[in-house]
């Protein structure tokens, strides 16, 4: 990608809103955010301190929004941002931050550092300073429709397998269905069992659902790389498809950043509220279970724990649903010490896993999750994000651990009480 420093600085300046101005004004450089970030705790490198990753944006804020900053600029005493700053900070902005927001939870003055990084990436992306892997993923998402290059043909092939294995019909482009389901590429390619589980659960619960041939991909590379234009284009495709099919709900899959993108950022990206609601698959399954439509049978007594995907739990508010669901099927469920909104990140979200350059660092910081698992001593971990799952599996493989990772939806599907066996 060509570098355009001036454009990057302009875009970075445009990202500074009242929130960011308040955050920089409040920061007292106490460094507590470092203690919450696995990239610091596992490396002891102070450069990985979350607020330090925002140094370019802080300098721009100071120059543009503070008395001393403006004064120094006028006198020629300030040190303006340079292309070298973008080059120097690119690794900190993209490789060592998953935007998991754990740092935001511990900041004593309440700075949402993950939000700031998300905004800073807009400037870096505009300037052309972003990892090649993420650039390519975003290009594929815009041109092919999926960051992993999954086409409609690939999806149809995956669905054909599911139909053959389950004997169920997978509805495509069903006008007026209640729910339109999205998938992440990772699920289609690596975890098609998620699609099969959904089909079986929806059939058992009598859910009216469909998949759109126009928009089935939930992953939003635009948000990960920091390009609101790309992000808006990708959200817009889903919105157009859902609204033309007239569905009441769009289901976000087991993918954290996809959920954040379509649920929380989407309406702001396209500039209007949706004419449908977005629901995370775990919320829907919890609702179906509580209303009696999803009936579960038996349980596993295998000791297992739950890895909270950051964008679904900490940044998404889906905190209790996975626990309620797990409680129905797993008698051996145990919580990690830092569970729920304070769980440690897998280390590969926010595009880090799409960034080949970051692989070594990502595997190193996996030690945080390894320590959590070692403390508990369980050999089964459930999660609800396809990206977390693949990152965790790679970490487990790299550390030669004996831990199995399974998706929550699949676990539920294994305990499905089929309609013919129900008593209602």
């Amino acid at each position: 990608m060509e570098h355009d420093f001036a454009k990057g600085v302009e875009e970075l300046g445009l990202q500074i809103d009242s929130r960011i101005a308040a955050y920089f004004s409040s920061c007292i450089h106490c460094g507590l955010c470092a203690e919450a970030c696995l990239f610091y705790t596992e490396t002891d490198d102070p450069r990985y301190t979350p607020i330090y990753k925002l140094e370019p944006m802080r300098r721009l804020w100071k120059a543009q929004h503070t008395f001393w900053g403006k004064f120094a600029v006028k006198l020629g005493l300030s040190k303006p941002l340079t292309e070298q700053d973008f080059a120097d900070w690119e690794e900190l902005v993209y490789d060592s931050c998953t935007m998991c927001g754990r740092c935001s939870m511990v900041c004593p003055v309440g700075n949402d550092i993950a939000y700031m990084i998300r905004k800073e990436r807009e400037g870096f992306s505009s300037a052309g300073y972003s990892p090649v892997g993420m650039q390519e993923a975003t290009h594929r998402a815009l041109t092919i429709g999926s960051p992993m290059g999954v086409t409609l043909k690939t999806l149809r092939a995956a669905l054909a397998h599911v139909e053959k294995d389950t004997g169920l019909n997978i509805p495509m482009d069903q006008q007026g269905a209640d729910y339109m389901t999205l998938f992440s590429s990772m699920e289609i390619v690596n975890f098609p069992e998620y699609i099969e589980s959904l089909a079986r659960i929806f059939a058992a619960a009598g859910v009216s659902w469909t998949i759109s041939s126009e928009a089935f991909e939930a992953t939003n590379s635009g948000i990960q790389i920091g390009s609101h234009q790309a992000a808006a284009e990708l959200v817009g495709r889903v919105v157009n498809a859902a609204e033309s099919l007239g569905v009441k709900y769009v289901i976000s899959p087991e993918c954290g950043h996809a959920y954040s993108a379509i649920r929380w950022e989407g309406p702001n990206l396209i500039g209007r509220p949706y004419r449908f609601q977005v629901i995370h698959i775990l919320e829907l399954l919890d609702e179906l279970q509580k209303s009696g439509r999803l009936q579960l049978s038996g349980h596993t007594d295998t000791p297992l724990t739950f890895h909270d995907p950051c964008q679904i739990v900490r940044r998404g508010g889906v905190v209790e649903s996975p626990r309620d669901l797990l409680g129905k099927v797993a008698s051996g469920f145990v919580e990690m010490a830092d569970h729920g909104t304070m769980n440690w990140c897998c280390g590969g979200g926010g595009g880090v896993s799409a960034n080949e350059r970051a692989e070594e660092l990502r595997l190193k910081v996996f030690d945080r999750k390894r320590k959590q698992l070692d403390e508990l001593g369980v050999t089964t971990m459930v999660t609800a994000c396809a990206n977390c799952r693949i990152v965790l599996e790679e970490g487990i493989e790299d550390r030669e651990m004996n831990v199995e990772v399974i998706g929550l939806t699949e676990l539920l599907a294994e305990h499905l009480l089929l309609p013919e066996k129900r008593t209602d």
Binding site: I51, V109, N268
Partner: protein, 213 residues
């Protein structure tokens, strides 16, 4: 002559700079603007803001262990300073005479001493940590050290002037406090006020998402 200047015009000047500067800083944060959030909320933004404003006074478990020193020192300094600033007898009398027109119960002498010791221990620990720890050393700017240094000098001269029997010490304390007032709006000391904005902004977003931040 200098004493009259410190006690009179310079006091009003520094107080003016402080008040106008603080208001201007707060206004300049608000005027940058914030786009409305169009996502359908799951919870209340206002109650989230209110909750975050107060809940962050209680540290989370992780910070309470890994960041124990910063946390303990931070509480010692802020609580001690708050007690000194608002409940030291000379300050209560000063506010009553110069600002409010009324006073309130003040700390006994021993309470003042304990508050001062707590505040000093906290401030010195924070300053040492800032100088010695790789993270805070990397993050710290000249402003952080100037602000800490000024607060330290104001506290030190305040303690020395406690008996108020030596007029030059009282004037020195007041002069340094006035310098601090002038410096305040241009520095990170502004977190005294802006923390409420930061916590509320973040709390509102989390509240809308249904997260108890």
């Amino acid at each position: 002559m200098i004493g009259a200047f410190i006690d009179g015009p310079f006091w009003y000047f520094s107080l003016g700079v402080f008040c106008i500067g603080v208001l201007f800083r707060l206004f300049s944060i608000l005027r940058v603007g914030l786009k409305p959030d169009l996502a359908l909320p799951r919870g209340s933004g206002s109650s989230g803001a209110l909750r975050n404003l107060f809940s962050l006074f209680l540290p989370r478990r992780d910070v309470a262990t890994r960041g124990r020193l910063t946390l303990v020192a931070g509480y010692l300094f802020h609580l001690g300073l708050f007690a000194l600033l608002f409940f030291a007898r000379p300050h209560v009398d000063f506010y009553a005479e110069r600002i409010t027109g009324f006073g309130w119960p003040a700390l006994p002498y021993w309470g003042f001493i304990i508050s001062a010791e707590i505040a000093f221990i906290g401030l010195l620990l924070l300053w040492l940590h800032r100088l010695l720890h790789p993270v805070t050393r990397l993050l710290s700017t000249a402003d952080d050290h100037i602000a800490t240094g000024l607060v330290f000098l104001v506290m030190l001269t305040g303690c020395l002037a406690l008996a108020q029997s030596f007029e030059p010490l009282r004037l020195l304390h007041l002069f340094l406090a006035e310098l601090l007032l002038i410096y305040f709006p241009f520095s990170s000391l502004m977190h005294t006020f802006t923390f409420a904005f930061s916590r509320s902004y973040s709390g509102a977003v989390m509240g809308r998402k249904g997260v108890n931040a």
